[in-house]
């Protein structure tokens, strides 16, 4: 009986999406913006790599720091955000049986707001009025329109957040006693985190706007930095949560297996949501004005994310081994051979997962007191996030494209396109390995990040970094090739691939699995816990920063 119910459960929504081509259009629009942003951002990335190594000189009207700001914002904020929304709304539509009309409207509103925001932000950057990098630390003051653009971006995200909350709530009301589908649960986690993460940065931006307009003379620099990182690092973990949604709920289906124990998956989601926001403080480990004991507490809070991450590693390898053995894999590692390595939908996320091992290890280094001091603001950090974001997250996103785009555009993934995908994945992996690897080494040697080409008056230490910078440039070149192939593949699958039906590969639980416990659905409680953890982390330092605030800083433009 329960099994039959589950059948209906997983079959019906699939048709539902078919009945709602409008939902597909929402997702496809977001994905299109994502990949346009990826393309521009990728080109800018290569320009940066070449300039950094001294292989090319950028014209004065488009200098290194403008390019760096645009690269950061387009990839770190625009690409990941729009991709996530496109993907999560497709999941939601699939698993909840279609979006509500008002939610669809909210999603479109969000899109419009974000486009306005991105337009404002990029215009100010191109005009040279906002070379403040994507961290925009005051007292560097960009044009007010830059910050207003950011407000629009946040409003766009909020519109989508409310859409998700409304749809989820609606489904809950109509399905008493049933746990929500796993993918919807993930979406709820992602957007809850997003909403609460963006509160801090919104407060920051809203204080910066009157300051840049000259209505307010000074700003508290340390508080602004803290608010920024309460968002900045959570954003990283939002991507991570999005990627894990594919690892847990999609990848098992692609390799022909079942997903892991749902109770544990939900626990991981809840832990990631509750523990996440305080992680940002490790970006301020060598800041003045924050006491050692607070920093120590925050090392603990940052690293506590390791626990759900290790749970994920355990669960995924369990699923792989179980599936491989079912397919006849023998011996200690024989099951590995049985996995579908030639399928890009598996290969890309698999490499992403593997890269999370060095990525996580590097994260532990960045997050801990003394080790951070060695590598803070060096190329090491850049290498680190190109492994974590550039591989663990982005390669998962790329892998998702190969079923999501054809599914949404009612086309099929051809053998040829699969091969293109595999080649793209390999190019990407090699490119990132070369680039991020050399960045890690250069960083250990002291090469600073966020710095245009320089030899520091031919200082021997600085000269010793240059060879590594050539390797960055080589890696960046490969990566741009990867970007071009990926963008081509996505738009090909969107408009040119042969028509047909592609399945939505949502994994199912093992046959005798217990249903997910209903207490995991108590989002009210999780939000309260999240707020409590935030209070634990932030009340002490923020009160200290405000009570012992030095006189503030006026806006300064140094570019």
């Amino acid at each position: 009986m329960a099994h039959a119910l589950k059948e209906v459960f997983y079959e019906k929504p699939k048709q539902a999406l078919g009945a709602h081509p409008e939902d597909a259009r929402v997702s496809l629009s977001y994905l299109s913006i994502a990949f346009i942003a990826l393309f521009i951002g990728g080109v800018l990335g290569l320009l940066q790599g070449l300039e950094r190594a001294g292989l090319m000189q950028l014209p004065p009207w488009l200098n290194y720091y403008q390019v760096l700001t645009a690269h950061g914002i387009l990839l770190v904020i625009v690409f990941t955000t729009t991709f996530t929304i496109g993907y999560q709304f497709a999941n939601l539509s699939h698993s909840l049986g279609g979006l509500l009309p008002k939610v669809r409207k909210l999603a479109w509103t969000g899109l419009v707001l974000m486009v306005i925001g991105v337009a404002l932000v990029t215009t100010t950057i191109v005009m040279g009025d906002a070379s403040v990098l994507y961290t925009f630390y005051p007292p560097l003051a960009a044009s007010p329109f830059f910050y207003i653009g950011l407000v629009f971006l946040v409003l766009g995200i909020w519109a989508c957040c409310f859409g998700v909350f409304i749809n989820y709530r609606h489904w809950r009301k109509n399905h008493p006693g049933e746990p929500a589908p796993l993918l919807a649960f993930f979406a709820m986690g992602v957007f809850t985190l997003w909403f609460f993460a963006s509160l801090g940065v919104t407060v920051e931006v809203l204080t910066l706007i009157p300051w840049t307009l000259g209505w307010k003379e000074t700003v508290n620099v340390l508080v602004a930095r803290t608010l920024f990182w309460s968002f900045g690092h959570t954003l990283v973990n939002i991507w991570y949560l999005v990627a894990t949604s594919a690892w847990y709920a999609i990848v098992p289906k692609i390799i022909g297996g079942k997903h892991f124990n749902e109770k544990l998956i939900r626990l991981v989601v809840i832990l990631l949501v509750v523990l996440n926001i305080p992680g940002g403080f490790h970006h301020q480990i060598i800041d003045p004005g924050i006491s050692l004991s607070i920093k120590f507490l925050h090392v603990f809070m940052s690293l506590s994310i390791a626990v759900p991450s290790l749970m994920t590693a355990f669960a995924m390898f369990h699923v792989f081994e179980r599936t491989g053995r079912q397919k006849g894999g023998r011996g200690l590692l024989g099951w590995l051979k049985k996995l579908p390595w030639g399928d890009v939908r598996f290969l890309a996320p698999m490499i992403a997962m593997i890269s999370f091992i060095p990525g996580g290890a590097g994260g532990i280094i960045n997050g801990s007191n003394q080790l951070n001091q060695v590598i803070h603001n060096t190329m090491w950090v850049v290498g680190h996030f190109h492994i974590t974001v550039g591989v663990s997250v982005v390669l998962t996103f790329f892998g998702i494209c190969y079923w999501l785009v054809p599914y949404l555009s009612k086309r099929t993934l051809t053998k040829k396109m699969n091969k293109v995908g595999v080649i793209q994945t390999i190019i990407w992996t090699v490119g990132m390995a070369i680039m991020a690897g050399s960045m890690h080494i250069a960083g250990l040697l002291g090469d600073p990040r966020r710095t245009s080409y320089t030899t520091y008056k031919d200082h021997p230490d600085a000269l010793s970094w240059i060879p590594y910078e050539y390797i960055f440039a080589a890696g960046a070149t490969l990566l741009l090739v990867g970007v071009i192939i990926q963008v081509y593949a996505v738009f090909h699958m969107m408009f040119l691939s042969p028509k047909g039906v592609t399945e939505f590969p949502a994994a199912e639980p093992v046959a005798d699995a217990a249903p997910a416990p209903l207490w995991t659905e108590r989002w009210g409680l999780w939000v309260v816990l999240l707020l409590m953890v935030v209070a634990m982390a932030y009340v002490v330092p923020i009160v200290d920063m405000i009570v012992h605030a030095p006189p503030g800083s006026p806006p300064i433009r140094t570019w």
Partner: protein, 153 residues
Amino acid sequence: MHRLEETWLTVSAGILIIFMFIVGYQTFAMGMGPPSNKETIDPQKVEETAPFDHPGVFKVGENKYEVVMTMEAFSFNPDDITVPKGAEVEFVLTTKDVVHGFQVAGTNINAMVTPGHIQRISQTFDEPGEYLILCNEYCGVAHQLMSTTITVN
């Protein structure tokens, strides 16, 4: 299966706790904590405020030096400083404008210098040589030129 999960979780939580012990021991017992000085200053009146009204290298004890330094886009004051070999040097830093980073390549000196705050960081220079001091936080159009040296002889 259930047992495996639990062992795994215990091990991962255990690693976290052991790690925190090591970090805590280094920070609090060995005094290796990251630079976290809490003194403040008016960022718009740096030049009138002691000790930054007279930046420079000062001998404060037996082979102990204090370097009072201001940073601004895109220079260090004083620049090209010299200290004897084996000297224990405490850098007392602040910025007159935006956020800067203070890094000495080849050492563990790495600290953020934010406006309104006075940062302190110490290092003993045992190896003679000309060390590169650079700003590692983006501070403006000529950020890449912001550097100086500390010579140890």
